[in-house]
Symmetry: C2
Subunit: 341 residues, 2 copies
């Protein structure tokens, strides 16, 4: 039988994690002190601002163990934080990992989780410099604080979109929502794990590399990542910027996979694109005459598609959808409220 946390104890686990990170993790030269003292410490770079974000995954709430392997869970937990740093035009540097684990959690699962963290961090030469372990009775949680940097003056906000700006989106939002539908309607999730839409949900591809380049270019006006769904996050841009938006439905990037699966599930692919979906794509805005420049900037680091789907308007807080027949209707996110009745 495989070893559990009860077998090796808290200090045994800390030692294992430490050894694992020495082997698989990136060792950043600016880290003065990593795991093993009262705090971690690093030397920030002159001319850069520090970015910091935290996001938590709770078993049964944000993920189901049947759907996701420990390694993918680690990737997912780190990727959603990396996505936030990327959406500010920043680069991830240091992570603190606070884990709530059970006594019967296999040690191999924890190591697989750390393998997932490192898979996401290493391409950025980012490292885990601290954390915390808590014993839980019934459920696991993974709470990550990710620290990054952004060049002074290059930070990308959600509050600075301008009337007349083009609205662009990376990738294919809605794929993660369709993947979740597939998984939750299936009897055996095992067979589905490699389905491209299930992968889009289980192991989302953040666009931090693209976000960093968009920030560097200096031509985008506002940016956000899609963690509340396209419409919800565009809504945040509109609200914080004091503007509105009009979207052109026929321009929406709907992948062939999404189109087929939507038909099979009897769902509207445009609704999947617009509503709650954990895709971690980027929505950004720029002056219409900068669209081709920004496309080239992204194309220089990535082959992710970039689609112009609408315009920023002056009708504060209102998002309109233009249908193929030319009619317009007002649309709203159906995003769920986590504590709502």
């Amino acid at each position: 039988m495989s070893k559990t946390l009860a077998d090796i104890g808290e200090f045994g686990l800390i030692r294992r994690i430490h050894e694992f990170l020495k082997k698989e993790g990136f060792q950043a030269p600016e880290v003065i002190l990593g795991i093993g003292d009262d705090t971690a410490s690093f030397q920030p770079r002159a001319g850069y601002n520090v970015l910091v974000t935290c996001d938590c995954l709770v078993e049964g709430r944000h993920y189901l163990p049947d759907y996701i392997t420990p390694s993918d869970l680690g990737r997912r937990a780190m990727a959603i934080n990396i996505s936030d740093i990327g959406a500010m035009g920043g680069r991830p540097l240091y992570a603190l990992v606070s884990l709530g684990l059970k006594s019967d959690t296999p040690v191999a699962d924890v190591e697989a989780m750390y393998h997932g963290f490192c898979m996401e961090l290493n391409p950025f030469e980012a490292s885990i410099i601290g954390g915390n372990l808590t014993k839980m009775e019934d459920i696991i949680f993974i709470d990550i604080t990710l620290i990054g940097e952004v060049k002074q003056g290059k930070i990308m906000l959600r509050s600075t979109a301008r009337v007349g700006d083009a609205i662009l989106i990376t990738g294919y939002p809605g794929q993660a929502a369709a993947g979740l539908h597939l998984l939750s309607r299936s009897q055996s999730t095992e067979d589905l794990r490699e389905h491209p839409l299930a992968r889009a949900y289980i192991s989302p591809s953040h666009r931090a590399k693209e976000g960093w380049r968009i920030g560097q270019s200096g031509v985008a006006t506002a940016m956000i990542d899609t963690s509340d769904g396209f419409l919800g996050d565009l809504g945040h841009i509109c609200k914080e910027s004091g503007v509105g938006a009009v979207l052109i439905q026929e321009k929406f990037p709907i992948s062939e996979d999404l189109r087929q699966t939507a038909a099979q599930l009897k769902l509207d692919p445009y609704e999947l694109f617009l509503q709650e979906s954990d895709d971690y794509e980027l929505i950004f805005t720029c002056s219409p005459d900068k669209v081709s420049q920004i496309r080239s900037v992204i194309a220089s680091v990535s082959d992710v598609p970039v689609t112009e789907v609408g315009k920023i308007t002056e009708i504060v807080g209102i998002i309109q959808l233009r249908l193929p027949d030319g009619t317009k209707r007002r649309i709203q996110p159906t995003g769920w409220d986590h504590f709502g009745k």
Copy 2:
């Protein structure tokens, strides 16, 4: 009936927290971006290193709601993180608060918790710049990441104690353990909440102000806060520094409250001093000829007692206790392993 999170929803709660912090929280000028975008952002000071730590309190595991009010819980959760920053010789600056809350949590309780956070942060002109909210089914958790700064070259480590150094301790370790004994043996915890030892457990006094001054003085060689009990944390210093220690029992600072309560509970006050206790005092070491200088440094900012309780020895990893009759015995922490069988 008082309003719950289910009544006001997630976005309602975020708005309330935001408004509360505008009113009661410190507004730091170096904060470029606080709550409300994908990440927070601040400008680090030149000549300083960044410190970062995280610590989590879980209902039923680290605290019992019957023992502690929401405001004290907020204070405690923040104080234990502030203590870590202080133990590095640093100053706390920015907190991220990740909360797991239940739908039936009263809004007033969450506000009281934030009141507790601000009570601890405001004296340092430190502020909450971000966080996360997660819905939990059965238990609440409070996971705080605290960021601080320390002047380059003034960081205090646990790994740098030297043979011959004096070992000093602030305050009265063991009081929190005695307080927990009192609370757990009592039928009605309500009457006990104001007992000084119960207070020592419920609302521990970190020594961050003192730690910062000790670091500034440049004469201490190593420092740690007592979160695993005096012996456990002195053990960390010994292990990381590759040294040992001898302690003189008759020098241990045992408060009158602790002496009386230990007698009443039929417990050994010296054992309470040595073993697992959540006091958040500071253990630090310095050359014997610097003891009076360091006492003056601390006395200039605080009236907390500082007691010399032993010496660092060359017997690696061994801690000895000298009893009043002159005999010595080897002692070890009984600290519990969180995942152990």
